[in-house]
């Protein structure tokens, strides 16, 4: 479970987070939905202790990130910006490296890596160096890295960027499977379809604040709109920075 409590963060002149609070429960897929610049990435970085909040705190399974970052990070898998692969390593080496970093021993990491590669149908590229991978292959490798050590909580920063239909479907299936296994899945997105198709719980953000929270249907009902997109536009008060 991930809890964010009254986070405030000023970056330069911008209030990137302005009293942000929400909870992403276990066994649910929580979508962090907001236009570009709403503070989604800032919020996720704070969850990893990469940024320090000026006020408030973030907790992972009840552990305060600012107080015990290593224990908190142990509970989380991060699906990163996929451009950050080590191009000179193969996916197998890359995934295994992060599995070991997350505390698995070598033998377990090896088995877990083979499992995740099979699961994501990546065996054909598993032993090729990442250099020259397509966007989708990058994504899959990054995703495999995030889930290889089966963390209780999984955080994904705009995971479907650049994925083709097949990969998107695989990703969706995977996230649903993780949810059914009781994991807490938190992902940020500005893609409506994605959020509508996947999320049990949506946190709508704008200008560093939570504007509304609830399931996609609840949000539609509350705003009296038929689609999540319309509901969203009504909630944030503009259609700036939204992808349909």
């Amino acid at each position: 479970m991930i809890t964010v409590n009254n986070l405030c963060k000023q970056i330069g002149d911008v209030n990137a987070m302005d009293g942000l609070s929400f909870t992403a429960p276990d066994g649910k897929i929580t979508g962090l939905l907001g236009p570009n610049g709403a503070g989604k990435t800032t919020c996720l970085r704070t969850l990893f202790g990469l940024l320090k909040a000026d006020e408030g705190h973030a907790e992972v399974d009840g552990i305060k990130v600012s107080e015990n970052p290593e224990a908190a990070k142990q509970q989380v898998g991060l699906f990163p910006d996929p451009s950050g692969l080590y191009e000179r390593l193969t996916p197998r080496e890359y995934i295994q490296f992060f599995a070991e970093l997350s505390g698995m021993n070598k033998a377990d990491a090896k088995v877990a890596t083979a499992d995740v590669l099979r699961h994501l149908k990546m065996e054909d590229i598993a032993d090729r160096r990442c250099k020259g991978f397509s966007q989708g292959q990058h994504m899959k490798t990054a995703l495999a890295q995030a889930i290889v050590h089966k963390p209780r909580n999984i955080i994904l920063d705009e995971p479907t960027r650049g994925l083709d239909v097949m990969s998107t479907r695989i990703l969706r299936e995977l996230l649903k499977m993780l949810r059914d296994q009781g994991h807490c899945v938190l992902f940020s997105s500005h893609v409506m379809q994605e959020v509508a198709a996947l999320c049990d719980h949506v946190v709508v953000m704008a200008k560093g604040k939570v504007v509304a929270e609830g399931s996609p249907t609840e949000l539609c009902e509350r705003t009296g709109q038929t689609s999540l997109e319309e509901a969203f536009i009504q909630l944030i008060g503009s259609d700036e920075g939204i992808a349909a």
Binding site: L50, E70, K73, P80, D81
Partner: protein, 378 residues
């Protein structure tokens, strides 16, 4: 510790596959001894041979003995405008008469003494004339039944204490300079790539999102870089050994020979330097905002070890400098090749300082990684 090991293994694997960076570091190790070897050959040629000195001698026919004497000392008359130096020795017309009567016979040296390049040749001519003068004078005293030692009020003796090897100071300095600097140049590309490069490729933030602390990341990077600079060191020691063996040292009566004990000593003495070099370059690279900026900063910072090494090479202010990092290690290497005792106090103290610097730079880098400005290049 286990995490450092995992990180170290990955850094090593990642770096060793970056063929260009590794090669760029090793090129220095392979080619600098070869270049040095060429330089030494040229220098030795200049040092060793007393060149023939060609001058203009006017009225040579007046003093055949003197001219013959000078010729035996490789100072001769020549009409060839390309080889002759602008020095003229004029022998007076009454030279022969004065000489036979035991009066001072006049010769005149005409040359521009303000010309630096001529000065050495003029003094050489003066010295030979003075020697001829005293030889003739001694003969005259003997014919008059007097001992020539009367003319020697003070007997100046010079005992040259230079052993053959210690004469080669500059050569040794240059050879060890190229060895010590490998620790810095072989590490440069990797240090920048693994720090500024890692940030630029967006993988630094991902690494930091894992349950490891920045100190572990920094240490593993430094260990990996040091491994490569030590590899560079071994390569340069081997290439130096073989290329310096080709230099015709016998011309000067000393030699730069790198034997196995020296090589082992160099490796051990260089370990603290390799760690310090890696930590310094990683720190500077993290300070920079981009890869390119890191490249310029690191290049600038490398002037410091280079200067320290130069100071040791040219034996400037040896007393104080031999206690400083880089210079002390190099000084110890020079002493070892010369066959002298290793200056142990200097070496130990400077190694300690070097390791302290390694600690400081490592700590500073890990502090930097806690700053969001540095991690995201804000």
């Amino acid at each position: 510790m286990k995490l450092i090991q995992i990180l170290f293994k990955k850094e090593l694997m990642d770096a060793s596959r970056d063929k260009r960076s590794v090669m760029a570091g090793l090129y220095y190790a392979v080619f600098s001894p070869v270049l040095m070897c060429g330089l030494f050959m040229v220098l030795l040629k200049q040092f060793a041979s007393t060149e023939e000195l060609f001058i203009t001698i006017e009225h040579a026919e007046n003093a055949p003995n003197l001219v013959q004497y000078l010729e035996s000392k490789e100072i001769q008359h020549s009409n060839d405008k390309t080889k002759v130096k602008p020095i003229t020795l004029v022998i007076s017309d009454d030279y022969g008469d004065n000489m036979s009567q035991g009066k001072p016979a006049m010769v005149t040296i005409i040359a521009d003494k303000s010309d630096d390049k001529l000065r050495k040749s003029v003094s050489r001519l003066e010295a030979q004339l003075a020697r001829y003068n005293s030889e003739v004078a001694s003969l005259r005293l003997i014919t008059r039944g007097l001992s020539p030692t009367l003319m020697k009020a003070v007997d100046v003796q010079i005992q040259d204490q230079a052993t053959p090897d210690s004469k080669g100071g500059m050569f040794l300095g240059l050879a060890t300079l190229s060895i010590v600097l490998t620790l810095f140049y072989a590490a440069m590309n990797l240090a920048i790539d693994t720090s500024a490069g890692e940030r630029e490729r967006n993988s630094l933030a991902l690494l930091l999102s894992h349950p490891i602390n920045p100190l572990q990341i920094v240490l593993s990077k430094i260990f990996a870089i040091s491994t490569f600079s030590m590899l560079g060191l071994v390569v340069i020691l081997i290439t130096s050994k073989f290329s310096y063996a080709m230099v015709p040292w016998e011309q000067l009566g000393f030699s730069v020979t790198l034997d196995l004990p020296f090589m082992l000593f160099a490796v051990v003495a260089s370990i603290p330097l390799a760690l310090m070099s890696a930590s310094l370059q990683v720190f500077v690279s993290f300070m920079a905002k981009s890869f390119k900026e890191a490249q310029s900063y690191v290049t600038m910072v490398l002037f410091i070890p280079m200067m320290l090494s130069m100071v040791a090479t040219y034996d400037i202010a040896t007393e104080t400098v031999q206690w400083l990092p880089v210079a002390a290690q190099q000084y110890a290497m020079i002493e070892l090749i010369k066959g002298n005792a290793i200056p142990l106090p200097q070496l130990l103290l400077s190694s300690l300082v070097t390791l302290t610097l390694f600690g400081v730079f490592t700590w500073l880098s890990s502090r930097l990684l806690k700053s969001e400005r540095v991690v995201f290049g804000l």
